[in-house]
Symmetry: C2
Subunit: 286 residues, 2 copies
Amino acid sequence: MPNEPKPTNVALPLEDMLAASSASDWRQLEPEDTLYIDFELARVVIELAPAFAPLHVSNIRKLAREGYWDGLAVVRVNDNYVVQLADPLADDPVRKRKISSASETLPPEFDRAILPGLPFNALPDADVYAPAVGFTNGFPAARSDEEGRTWLVHRYGTISAGREVSIDSGSGAELTAVIGHAPRQLDRNVTVVGCVRQGMEFLSSLPRGAGGLGFFKGDDADLVIKAGRMASDVPVSERSFIEVLRTDTPFFARLIESRRNRYDEWFHKPAGRVDIGNVPVPVRTA
Amino acid sequence: MPNEPKPTNVALPLEDMLAASSASDWRQLEPEDTLYIDFELARVVIELAPAFAPLHVSNIRKLAREGYWDGLAVVRVNDNYVVQLADPLADDPVRKRKISSASETLPPEFDRAILPGLPFNALPDADVYAPAVGFTNGFPAARSDEEGRTWLVHRYGTISAGREVSIDSGSGAELTAVIGHAPRQLDRNVTVVGCVRQGMEFLSSLPRGAGGLGFFKGDDADLVIKAGRMASDVPVSERSFIEVLRTDTPFFARLIESRRNRYDEWFHKPAGRVDIGNVPVPVRTA
């Protein structure tokens, strides 16, 4: 590979590649599947994955509609691991935020059956953790044909539903966002509910928590969540119009290939491979 | 694997495992191979890797001794990728920091020959990018027996020598630290000079640069480097006494196994595998 001549047709850096995309290579986020977590300084836009976590996504919609997250906070920033959005008073039975319309716990949705109609655009390279990895409708996913199961994988930007030791103790009320190296050991151990499509720079650059596992020890006042809302419940004038690159197109296949073989000028020895953590799913403002 | 009973002998979380280590499982950093980059708010401690980048490490010692980094800055914070320490005036031929005793450019040290005496403690699992990965004296490394070559790999905390397009344009004057998912496409494309052993939380939580590739567009004043010094040139009273867990011990092999199979109470389905990005090399204050 390194001694082959560099092909001129896969030479472009990402921005230049994207400039050559067409409108049909992009899709808009569905407002009913889009959760906004608004902070004073930033909006975090999360695309939910009802195809993989229907119970949790339905519950997250209810939680947003009852204003569950409003005034809650970032309670944990664990370096090279996760940010956690939750109730700082969760351990106080009196003062903790009450859940009204939504469920307090749900059965796990760690993986699901492979069914026809669920696209899977596989990466050409092997994976350390799963028989195959790729993308399903823009979400990084893994599958095992032998088991007949597929699941969303943890990588930078993955949103999961926090849970206690019991596997049916999560609800989507407590959300974690991966801010470091893909913690693939979490795959099939926690319900992945979606991906951050905008606002990762805000989450990943938050000051790390000084307590164990990155929990904050004291004042969380500057990390308060102003509001958590479904995009469909926000006035059109206040929505973030974001387009996400489709992952089931010939264009995306070329993007993967360009990530496998970085033939732009700077690269001396293209890897010839790519792992699921190094394939970007670009977004743009519509 | 998921249906096997959980063995009770690999059940411990990392902190509990480390509590059971003995003094001989740890090593102290060599002051002559340790670079301190001091900021107003934090010290970044870098362990250099002369076994893999002898020319660059020798040059970095010279750069530190001529005070090259003093007053330079963080010029780039690229989300989920790298932080870059360099001269904000590098493009100004008159005002840029001059290099006196050190070399301005060096031949690449992207990989090296496999020789007896260089330990390699391999991970038991496959890797997406290389025939084998593991650790050499505490540094994450890859090797190809077929090529007879070994190299340090890029993951969270890896320090590389920035270069221009020409492969012999680096010197160690410009340093990059990985702050995101392991960018393994950089392996063998740039000279890895070491690893951050302390201070990653500071680097990874810096505000992201708003310019292209995360470069800052304007004022870098709050990200100034106070001083870059070899630990051996710093008075003993000002040194950071850090111990790093050895990676060539039975204890470290058990640590890898505990990362492959997370049998602590919370994990429902241990992965049975681990990638090079998910094996920590713990440090402690001596």
